[in-house]
């Protein structure tokens, strides 16, 4: 047992860190630090910089543009990326549909889609949740009817993140209405520009527009857009959801936020001294740091295990990552709220272009707190995670 990183791994960390310092546009970093939304251009610009370096789809197999890094290197890369902070690669293309295509797709599909994901020529979104199918995803109703060499798709998806920017969608559709729940679902990809696709924005409680409703009205999709086998889509969806186990803890994100909390709490006065010197506040902050340290170690246990024994059998500790990771992220946003106190209230009337020197760091704190309530809901709510632990780990 040895928790130290090797010299090579430390050198790798330095290399990655230096690359971010030299290449992340300062304005992009500033917005992330302040919890602001990035424009499409800002995100795409950065992802193309990353892709040019060869790190855009780092965890893919080398033949499709991946790096061949060890699990520890991936861990270091992600941690540094989150902690700098720099925008993470677009999960829907890079972490979700990409691996499904290179694992289950045919050669033509691999050729057609994979390079465009890496170069961000296609922005992908995810068509999974429906108004009546949240945690019970397999109850989904969106239909794909085979007519000759086409599927005719009808139905509605929701919580579709950044669909307003998307070129492509991967969709779970019911292809066999007679089959039992999980059995009649297929994994189909198509253009968001297709006739019959309508995107309607959903404004969330932070005032932002990240998610959308997407309606399909007799959308015609060529049958060659089916990934893998018809009616096997549920297997691919499970593969997709199980694929990104270690990134979900977002340890780097919470580290960066703790750094910011300390920085701001050293400036803000409370009771005639810096907030950071208030013992009650300080101990809450420390308690959160300790939880994060434990989570980091738990994550490293999972990473080391994957490196040694492959990704086949999930380490039981991995189910801890989502629950604890989301709780800690939420705690950090609560601590930030505490730091600014009464100045949480003013609404950010200037939006992302705020140039008001005195207030620009406070404006996004309450929205970020509101927005972060989502992290214990998405990706399988924390209650669903507890179901998974009790069944898969404890055998209840």
């Amino acid at each position: 047992m040895d928790l130290a990183f090797t010299k090579e791994e430390q050198a790798f960390r330095e290399e990655v860190r230096q690359f971010f310092k030299d290449n992340v546009p300062p304005e992009t970093r500033r917005k992330l630090v302040e919890g602001r939304h990035l424009s499409k251009d800002e995100m795409v610009t950065w992802w193309r910089i990353l892709n040019k370096k060869g790190w855009g789809v780092s965890h893919w197999p080398v033949e499709y543009g991946g790096t061949g890094w060890s699990s520890v290197q991936h861990y270091i890369f992600n941690e540094e990326l989150q902690a700098y902070p720099a925008p993470q690669p677009l999960a829907f293309g890079v972490s979700m549909v990409g691996p499904v295509i290179y694992t289950f797709g045919n050669e033509a599909q691999k050729k057609q889609y994979l390079p465009r994901i890496a170069s961000v020529d296609d922005w992908w979104c995810q068509g999974f949740s429906e108004p009546g199918s949240g945690s019970d995803l397999a109850s989904l109703k969106t239909k794909a009817e085979r007519r000759g060499d086409k599927y005719i798709i009808n139905g509605q998806k929701t919580w579709t993140t950044l669909a307003q920017y998307a070129d492509m969608i991967f969709c779970l559709c019911r292809t066999d209405p007679a089959a039992k729940k999980q059995m009649g679902i297929s994994f189909i990809v198509f253009s968001m520009k297709s006739k019959g696709v309508t995107v309607r924005p959903i404004q969330t409680i932070d005032g932002g527009h990240e998610v959308n409703e997407v309606f399909f009205d007799d959308v015609e999709v060529p049958v060659e857009n089916l990934i893998g086998e018809e009616n096997k889509g549920w297997d691919y969806a499970k593969f997709l959801l199980g694929n990104e186990r270690t990134g979900i803890a977002r340890v780097g994100v919470s580290k960066e936020r703790l750094r910011r909390i300390k920085e701001l709490a050293a400036k803000v006065e409370s009771g005639g001294r810096p907030m950071l010197e208030d013992p009650a506040f300080r101990e809450k902050l420390t308690a959160c740091e300790i939880e994060l340290k434990a989570l980091e170690l738990t994550q490293l246990r999972v990473v080391a295990d994957e490196g040694k024994h492959g990704k086949g059998k999930p380490n039981p500790a991995s189910s801890v990552l989502k629950i604890k990771g989301s709780e800690i992220q939420q705690t950090t946003t609560e601590l930030l709220m505490e730091v600014i106190g009464p100045f949480a209230a003013p609404y950010d009337v200037h939006g992302d272009d705020d140039s008001n020197e005195t207030m620009d760091w406070t404006a996004q704190i309450a929205p970020s707190y509101f927005n972060n309530r989502k992290v214990s809901i998405y990706g399988g709510s924390n209650e669903i995670q507890r179901n998974i632990i009790s069944k898969a780990v404890l055998g209840l």
Partner: protein, 380 residues
């Protein structure tokens, strides 16, 4: 970075797990508790035979030269089986004093008895007013000739009732809360002027309140620098905390297993109560708490070798905070999920809860260590 055990460490784990599986079920434990002194000499001999009492000592000193990971393996196994024998007091604490501070002559005089199981030790540190501050020492050691005269009172000395030899903190200089001027002395338990009042503790172990009245010891009794032994004491107590973290992980692991087994079999409303989601989610939260504690126990084990004393202390304090939180949650919820039967002496789960509760108050509780980490500027 590697969290796996080496081949030798796995053999060690199999060996201690095997020994305890054979000889330390809950009913056997009751018998050992009823023996004179409250633990089993036969088990202690078996631990000696398997080399477990000599584990951390160098081969030159007659031991096996094992490190922190090996102690973690043993303590976790002992937690899982709720072992009564004085491994912490003798091998971990007294052993660490001798390893880190003992002279060649002191090692020569004491290690063989630890390793062959013929002698046990106790650490007389706590005073009425000192609570968790290791530097708060009113017991005095006054110079007399080459030796010392010790006067004072120590409380809740673990294994103090049975130990052959005591390791005592006493002030040689300065005021009660000065950080310098503290010494550590080896005192035979039957020395003239030593009075022991022994009693069982809440978790089934044994301790003693010990009075030292004009106890004379020689110059060779002092371990390390008699005027500046606090760094040594802190290092040894840190190792004891690390060992307690591992023991607690073993206790929590077994508490969760026992509780999950229980709710799988206990039926109400015609079904196993483990089929109810309210209980499933509680058990899942217990699992999360356990894994977080396990991670920090490993971290603490590694941290005991950190060269920077401040970083070592802060890391171990952070681990004790996590273990304290997890232990309270898992301990209390284990009783809750057992329902009425969890309240009885007859069921094993309550005994795990009691040991976990006593670990919380040993060498600093959660609040104490949280404050230390906070004052040190955090751990991230």
């Amino acid at each position: 970075m590697d969290f796996d055990l080496t081949e030798e460490q796995r053999l060690l784990k199999d060996s201690i797990d095997g020994l305890l599986a054979d000889a330390y079920d809950f009913d056997s434990r009751k018998k050992y508790m009823a023996e004179k002194g409250g633990w089993s000499k036969a088990i202690w001999s078996k631990l000696a035979e398997q080399g477990l009492l000599g584990l951390p000592f160098s081969e030159d000193d007659g031991g096996f030269g094992a490190g922190g990971v090996e102690t973690m393996i043993v303590m976790e196994a002992m937690g899982r089986a709720l072992v009564l024998e004085p491994y912490l007091a003798t091998v971990v604490i007294a052993g660490s004093f001798l390893r880190h501070g003992g002279s060649a002559a002191q090692k020569e005089a004491h290690l063989a008895g630890i390793i062959d199981g013929s002698r046990t030790f106790a650490f007389a540190q706590l005073e009425k007013q000192s609570r968790y501050d290791l530097f708060d020492v009113a017991t005095s050691a006054k110079k007399k000739g080459d030796g010392w005269i010790i006067d004072g009172e120590k409380f809740v000395v673990l294994n103090g009732e049975n130990a052959d030899t005591l390791i005592v903190t006493a002030r040689t200089k300065g005021g009660q809360r000065d950080k310098s001027g503290i010494g550590v002395f080896i005192v035979p338990a039957d020395a003239k002027g030593v009075t022991r009042k022994g009693y069982p503790t809440q978790d089934g172990l044994h301790a003693a309140d010990i009075t030292f009245t004009g106890v004379e010891v020689g110059a060779d009794a002092a371990i390390g620098d008699p005027e500046n032994a606090l760094p040594l004491i802190e290092r040894v107590v840190d190792e004891a905390r690390v060992a307690l973290c591992a023991e607690a992980v073993g206790l929590m692991d077994e508490s969760l297993n026992t509780t999950v087994e229980y709710i799988k079999t206990r039926k109400q409303f015609g079904v196993a109560i483990g089929s109810f989601q309210a209980l499933q989610h509680r058990a899942a939260d217990m699992f999360v708490a356990l894994e977080q504690a396990r991670s920090m126990s490993m971290f603490a084990t590694m941290a005991s070798d950190f060269e920077d004393a401040k970083e070592r202390a802060t890391s171990i304090a952070a681990a004790k905070v996590q273990i304290g939180k997890s232990a309270k949650f898992i301990g209390q919820q284990s009783i809750q999920l057992h329902g009425g039967i969890g309240m009885t002496m007859e069921a094993k789960i309550g005994h795990y809860f009691k040991r976990l509760s006593m670990i919380e108050t040993t060498f600093g509780d959660t609040d104490y260590h949280l404050r230390r980490v906070s004052e040190a500027g955090g751990v991230v």
